[in-house]
């Protein structure tokens, strides 16, 4: 297909959301000078939850004292008014008022499963980029070392840190703790399902915390069956921070787990070998690679259109993509990218 050069999408007229509860100052003429009296009263009483109401920084949400303030709001010392600090959607959970921003950086929480990239190797820890305001750290003591879980970290280990992780490597890890003063995350990879990533490809979606992008859900790691497409199964790891890893499904770990009755502290050292730190890929067939690329594109489409990315939506989107491409497979050889229509079908399938 040749080069497509397109004009930018023009803004369509958007209807204002109907759920606004206060006076709408519709006059946008530039000649009004005296607005001391004309300023709309921006207060309203929240008697019932106002779903999908957009608030802006500086906007008064309420001054009813029954509400507690949560993320995205602030209260001044002199009054009990709660004011928004972010542009986003008002959320009410019981008596807690918070604002979910339209876009925001990922903020780490304990227990999050994240995918990160090593950016620095320090004396006894690594610094990992997890798309948070500050780099996360992965201490040497928090990873599995070949030779046993309970082994002491020696200076030899410190000198050989690059044998385990070097700059640029991708890891999947869990947030162990979050620094109280500066919200720096501290990661660990102490389970067999964490560690260095290989056999696949990486992509990043932005806008976490806003509703688009990856959301925290029960299953961040799952497998997609693509046997029908002559590909193998694909493991999908959705890091809560918006970093995603797609790879060829690895069967052995499950078998091993089942065989020995589960991996426990006592036999962890048998299972952990230097192999887990290698960056050697297995042989991956063409079919699997194609499916990985297809899933990657589906996730990108979901993210671009603001649909949240979780197991459900990804699987639905993928199935829609497979169906859609099957129906245009007759025009083989045209070699098109995902066309507009296919995009829409993917997004629709994912939402419903």
């Amino acid at each position: 297909m040749g080069l497509a050069v397109l004009p930018p999408d023009f803004e369509e007229e958007v209807v204002h959301p109907v759920s606004r509860k206060y006076d709408d100052y519709q006059d946008d003429s530039d000649t009004s000078m005296d607005d001391a009296n004309g300023r709309p009263s921006k207060r309203f009483r929240l008697s019932q939850p106002a779903a999908s109401q957009i608030v802006l920084p500086g906007e008064t949400i309420t001054d009813d004292t029954q509400w507690m303030r949560g993320h995205g709001t602030y209260m001044t010392d002199s009054s009990t008014t709660i004011i928004a600090t972010l542009a986003g959607i008002l959320k009410t959970t019981n008596k807690l008022l918070s604002v979910a921003p339209l876009r925001a950086r990922y903020t780490p929480e304990i227990g999050d499963l994240v995918v990160g990239r090593i950016v620095e190797v320090q004396k006894n820890r690594w610094k990992v980029d997890v798309a948070a305001p500050l780099l996360a750290q992965l201490p040497l003591s928090s990873i599995n070392l070949p030779g046993g879980v309970l082994r002491r970290r020696t200076t030899a280990d410190e000198l050989q840190m690059r044998n385990y992780f070097q700059e640029g490597d991708l890891v999947v890890a869990e947030v162990q703790q979050v620094g109280s003063s500066d919200n720096t995350a501290s990661l660990h990879t102490r389970s067999l399902k964490y560690g260095k990533l290989r056999n696949g490809t990486f992509l990043a979606v932005s806008g976490t915390g806003g509703g688009g992008g990856v959301v925290r859900s029960r299953r961040q790691v799952f497998t997609i069956n693509s046997g029908a497409q002559s590909g193998g199964d694909v493991d999908v790891i959705l890091g809560v921070n918006g970093y995603i890893w797609l790879s060829k499904h690895v069967q052995q770990a499950d078998d091993q787990g089942r065989m020995s009755g589960g991996v426990s502290i006592s036999n962890l050292d048998d299972v952990v070998s230097t192999a887990i730190y290698s960056s050697q890929n297995d042989d991956i067939g063409e079919g699997t690679r194609r499916e990985i690329a297809r899933i990657s594109e589906c996730i990108k489409i979901l993210a671009e259109d603001g649909v949240r990315v979780d197991e459900d939506t990804v699987i639905k989107a993928y199935e829609a993509a497979v169906d859609a491409e099957m129906s245009v497979a007759d025009q083989a050889g045209t070699g098109t990218r995902v066309s507009e229509e296919v995009r829409r079908r993917i997004v629709d399938a994912a939402i419903h």
Binding site: P17, D35, P57, G306
Partner: protein, 260 residues
Amino acid sequence: MPLDTISTYAQTLLRQDGRRWNELRRITASISTQPSSDGSSLLTMGNTMVLCTVTGPREGNRRGQRDNTNATVETEINVASFAQMDRRRRVRNDKRIQELQSTVSSAFQSHLFTHLYPRSTISISLHVLSLDGALLVACLNAASLALVDAGIPMPSILAAISSGSVTPTDDSSTRPEPILDLNNVEEQELPFLSIATVSGHPGSEDKVSVLTMESRCQIGGANSKLESMMATGVDGCKQVRRKMEDVIRKHGAKVLQGRK
């Protein structure tokens, strides 16, 4: 046709481009223009066009300068060579640009809730694509929108405008009159200041956050210009803020619609 404001203003009460004293130029803005950055905006005020991208908060690059309690705001302003009528090659160490950068940085350093992101850096990158007056003002407004887009918490939206003063005739006894939002020609002729305000606590007045003036004018006495310029400026900021809030709301509605 005379090319200056002063000579014709008394008779017509209109400026060279046909505006009245308190009319703003046409403001258009859009946010999230570059989805791959944390926050972005494109703002035009008349013929002045500024593009802003915000990155952060993220780990800063320089080791020594990290503040352990607050985020650091850095600004870079880049006026394109094709921005003005004469093509002007940018001078790297332009003092005026450095001062503007410093003004924008300090305005937002104190305005944003930087204590929520200690030791990190928020980088504001401003590109002036076309310049017809209101350089500092457009930079502040564009940065304000981009910071809202980036989801960085702030107590209210910072809005800026320029205001100047025109003395209708040479007769020094006539009161000088304030005018709002000066373009390039007017800025070269008349004294003007740039002012930015933030909303005060609910029920109270707006607070002035930035106030800069590069020309000279009379402060006190019967023909004082400063007070009227400032009062007009504060009002003008309110108008600009309304416009910016409108833009953000429209964008928010569009995003929500896309998600439904």
